[in-house]
Amino acid sequence: MVVCSVVVRRLLAAAPAAPRHVFTGLRWVTSTPVKFNERKYTDKHEWVQVDGKIGTIGITHYAQDALGDVVYAQLPDPGQEFSQMDECGALESVKAASELYCPVSGKIVSKNTEVEDTPGLINKSCYEKGWLFKLELSKLHELDGLMDEAQYEKFLKTDDH
């Protein structure tokens, strides 16, 4: 169905925060604008917070509670590249090493050395001081497939989490 571009522009102006449907030639393209600093979540209980092209990654409160006291963090090194959902490190707690997954594709720019020295920060401050690593996203559109906060909260209430 062909829609007049003027109508499209008026529709976009009326709903700026909604998913934007942009008519580009013969294809409709949808992109959800990422609100500045909004966290997105994976079903592996990791979060990513994007600022421009740099994402900060950590684990959620649910995850740190399920792990128990973290005694060691094996984090990816700057320069390493990963695809979405690649295993990229591990956290050790109660003699269990649990894999970390890269929630979005990209190249590591830094790891949190504070957490390497004091792994307990992950339990005490999983969204702030307990961040794990930062990467430069190579495929920003992957964020569209992750859950927002409301969706993640809902996910936690299901049997599938």
């Binding site: 399920a66 792990l67 060691y72 109660v94 003699k95 269990a96 090493a97 894999e99 049997d159 599938d160």
Partner: protein, 232 residues
């Protein structure tokens, strides 16, 4: 009907061969052949370490190899430990998501299964510890069972090592699990009578089934052979 816990008492197997079996069983969880399995083995003498590698550089590895033991660096949690004849090593390869278990509750479940097993043989004073580096099963100040596991995409590997009639002098060459001043013990040492891996293994399987509300089901000879062929 209760879900099944498949088990395979595979006898004396080298550490790396058993690890190949573990990896194959774990990979099956990603396909139609998914089953929760517990692999029970004994190993020829071997020292193993987990992901915290810093305390164990190459000269430490060489020192331990000179004693006549093998040495492996693994991806499990926990520090250095010893495996050898007379010690029941059990590797549960299970799906934590399916069992509705987090990693912490899974490790707790292993501890409970081991404590049940020890009590069956008359060792009533088994305990666990809340200190994160003291995970495992203890009798007073001595550890009778070490635990070190790995979880990837909800599938577990590695597991536990319960001393039945292990030659405990092998532990003198390391600080087991990095805990200075603690001892190790075995069922045989505590009871003053010989308790073998063969006697303990079925009791441990039953204990896991009790904790998981599962029914035990042995691997058939054909299933065992299929796996052994695949890892060649």
């Amino acid at each position: 009907m209760q879900p099944l816990l498949r088990y395979w008492a595979a006898g004396l197997i080298r550490y790396d061969k058993a690890y190949k079996i573990q990896k194959l069983l774990a990979s099956r969880h990603q396909t139609q052949k998914a089953q929760n399995v517990i692999l029970l083995v004994e190993h020829p003498p071997v020292y193993t370490i987990g992901i915290r590698t810093n305390p164990y550089p190459i000269d430490e590895e060489e020192r331990l190899r000179r004693l006549g033991a093998d040495f492996h660096r693994t991806n499990r949690g926990g520090l250095i430990t010893f495996h050898g004849p007379g010690q029941l090593v059990a590797y549960p390869i299970v799906n934590l998501k399916e069992l509705n278990l987090g990693v912490r509750s899974y490790v707790c479940l292993i501890e409970k299964a081991v404590m049940r097993t020890c009590r069956h043989f008359g060792v009533d004073s088994v305990r666990t510890s809340k200190e994160p580096n003291e995970t495992g099963v203890w009798v007073s100040n001595a550890k009778i069972c070490a635990i070190g596991v790995h979880a990837s995409r909800f599938i577990t590997s590695h597991g536990l090592a319960l001393n039945c009639n292990t030659e405990l002098s092998w532990y003198r060459h390391i600080v087991p699990c990095g805990l200075v001043g603690k001892e190790v013990t075995s069922l045989t040492k505590l009871l003053g009578q010989n308790v073998t891996v063969q006697q303990v293994a079925p009791v441990l399987v039953r204990a896991f089934c009790d904790e998981l509300n599962c029914t035990a089901s042995n691997f058939t000879h054909e299933e065992q052979q299929e796996i052994l062929k695949e890892i060649l």
